[in-house]
């Protein structure tokens, strides 16, 4: 039985794996309509084909004027300007304004030639037919968005690696870009192992447990923008696992193997990863709880991760290692941190120095704000996660957290 001689800090373990995989897979891209691009990773640098706006627009309802015609105007000494036209919405105004001339205009309307400012409706009124009196002077450019003020022609508007949100879709729509290249979805093969594990719809016998891990990991993978491929439950036999892992490695970008629960079964996973391809196991044993037995491997350029059979460990380590891997392989620019909720810890929590602990907590609303209440339970109680709202981290340099401390709760 192998011991964990050298437990590696989780951040270092993750970096060891992520630095060895190339987002080569992200070279494989697909063209999608912008409506289908939400949540995908942009796979090309996109520039504005034309300036935005393409014509000078009014930002208010009012009167397009030459600014100088309004200079000195006030409530007591209004400026009188001839109202010669009205800008139609949605088309180019066919009139050009001369000195002392104004045109009615709506928000978003195109500024007529000869105008350089817009007087707001509330700062003017009709003095007689075809004449307005203006009570407030406007500066040149006032209440106008000029050509290219949003983006100029050729400006980089969407960078390769950017996550597509509704705002990115809006930007592309404004520029008439109706489709774009995104990274194709990373395929993650999932193999469950263990003689005691049976399919979730099987008749269960005493001594058997249902296959939780295939389904939690598939859920995690699918909700992280990748595609899961289930390879079923393989008995705890080296050759059988190797054959299935080989097939998964050929067909997928990443392979996850959840080991049986025993130490020997975990060693089997490590041996399978070593036989799958070079260099094999990179990290075996991570200084974290849950998840100490997690194995990070690299086989012929593809990541193969051995997760503990314990469903809580498997899911928490999936969050810690598989999700960042999917993001790296998709070419995602990792520019923003993970958001969290600040809450007050309800009880003391102890932790071993040097180890990073991830503790499930429930959020409880109190008058003073949110409380983070740890959900305890042996680490293989799947409902300790289901009954929690998120996880808090006790960092390696800490030996615990005190009741009343402010903690960051990461929803999962």
């Amino acid at each position: 039985m192998a011991d964990f001689l050298t437990l590696i800090p989780p951040a270092q373990a993750r970096e060891l794996l992520l630095s060895r995989v190339q987002s080569a897979q992200s070279e494989k891209t697909e063209l999608v309509e912008i409506a289908d691009s939400i949540g995908r990773i942009c796979a090309e640098d996109l520039s504005a084909p034309h300036p935005l706006p393409q014509f000078p627009r009014s930002t208010v309802d009012g009167y397009a004027v030459k600014a100088k015609d309004s200079f000195g105007a006030s409530e007591s000494t209004p400026a009188y300007i001839n109202l010669i036209a009205e800008v139609p919405m949605g088309s180019r105004p066919h009139h050009s304004l001369g000195s002392g001339e104004a045109s009615g205009i709506h928000t978003g309307g195109m500024i007529p030639d000869g105008c350089d400012a817009v007087v707001m409706l509330e700062n003017a009124q009709l003095s007689r037919e075809n004449e307005i009196e203006v009570y407030r002077s406007v500066a040149p450019g006032e209440n106008i968005i000029s050509v290219g003020e949003d983006v100029f022609q050729g400006q980089l508007v969407l960078r390769r690696g950017k996550l597509i949100r509704p705002s990115e879709i809006g930007g592309l729509a404004a520029l008439g870009i109706t489709e774009l290249r995104v990274a194709r979805k990373i395929k993650v093969g999932i193999i469950s192992t263990g003689d005691e594990v049976v399919p979730i719809d099987a008749d269960i016998q005493l001594g058997q447990v249902r296959d939780v891990n295939s389904h939690t990991l598939a859920g995690l993978v699918n909700s992280s923008g990748a595609v899961s491929v289930l390879y079923g439950i393989i008995p705890d036999n080296f050759d059988d696992i190797l054959v299935t892992a080989r097939r998964a490695l050929t067909e997928c970008d990443v392979v996850l193997i959840t080991a049986g629960s025993s130490a020997s079964s975990r060693d089997k996973t490590a041996n399978v990863i070593n036989r799958l391809g070079e260099p094999g196991v990179l990290v075996h044993g991570i200084n974290t709880r849950p998840g100490k037995p997690t194995i990070l491997g690299l086989c012929e350029g593809k990541a193969v991760i051995g997760l503990p059979g314990n469903p809580v460990s498997a899911l928490v380590n999936g969050i810690l290692f598989v999700v960042p891997l999917i993001e790296k392989l998709s070419g995602k620019l990792s520019s923003t941190p993970r958001p969290s909720i600040r809450a007050t810890l309800t009880v003391n929590l102890s932790s071993q120095a040097g180890r990073e602990d991830w503790q499930p907590v429930k959020l409880i609303p109190e008058e003073m704000g949110w409380m983070a209440d740890p959900v305890f339970g042996k680490s293989n109680l799947i409902f300790s996660l289901s009954f929690s709202d998120g996880l808090i981290c006790i960092r390696p340099e800490e030996t615990g957290l005190s009741a009343g401390e402010i903690v960051d709760v990461f929803l999962f």
Copy 2:
């Protein structure tokens, strides 16, 4: 031209609408396989059909024993126990232990009858064939998960209104529950209006702009767990808008109408909502920026929201009003707050007292942590959102924020 005589605080406006819509729609449910339930809202209370685990399991690799046989054992005076069997993984052990007898067992194995504790492998060794010496005593129940320790039979394991995450799927899988009832997806009809607005793939003329709002709002709706239905672009004509809005109200659970940009066009939207059904407009004018002209309406029990034509306003107000509405209609329990990222504001920001401002910011990593750098721009520059990572809120009771203040950045 109507003025905004009574601007309502956004929280109050939201509450006015949400308190008037019933999640009656959530009565309409659908049965889905657990694999397809991620991100959906559970529509039934689910109880455990059997205890979990269903049999007592070992949490370690070692030897199942009667605890009392180990009492007093130490390195210098080990206890000697007969090793009579090995528990097979995945089936019920067919032996029962008598006094002075032990059985080999793996993590997850079923505890044989007659045993009440497990000695860890590292606290014992084979002394001779069929005998172990135990160096450490174990207490009754030690290293065992007992029947029902995760959940007991009949325990409520998933509550109506709960968002389904991978951990919920794991819990259901463990219990052999392969499908469940979820709230069917809320249908949100989207109508764009304005004479100047053209489809995103149309040849564009000076004076025209492409239909940004249909696409940003559809993206927002779809990524919030609902389904968008686009009703296209309707010219700025009362009767045409009313006809289309009537159709949308019949076919959808919620109707969004983005007004043209001018004040008269926004008034038209309010009139349409008043004609659509009782009671019509609930709120016209919200004390927020962007989004002052947002209209919240209720027509024959369905929410109809008039959003400003300005794409930034439309999207930000979609986040503030449409997303919570979708959650309410889906029956989602609103138990957790929205997570955020804490960052240091780079510059002073001023705001009008009484008004709630939502300011787009970019997150910039610095040695000390994250900086929140406001992305300025006239409010109708769509790329001010696309170039931002999130929004910060200046609350009504504040007249601004100072450079150096810690702010919560909400990603969008």
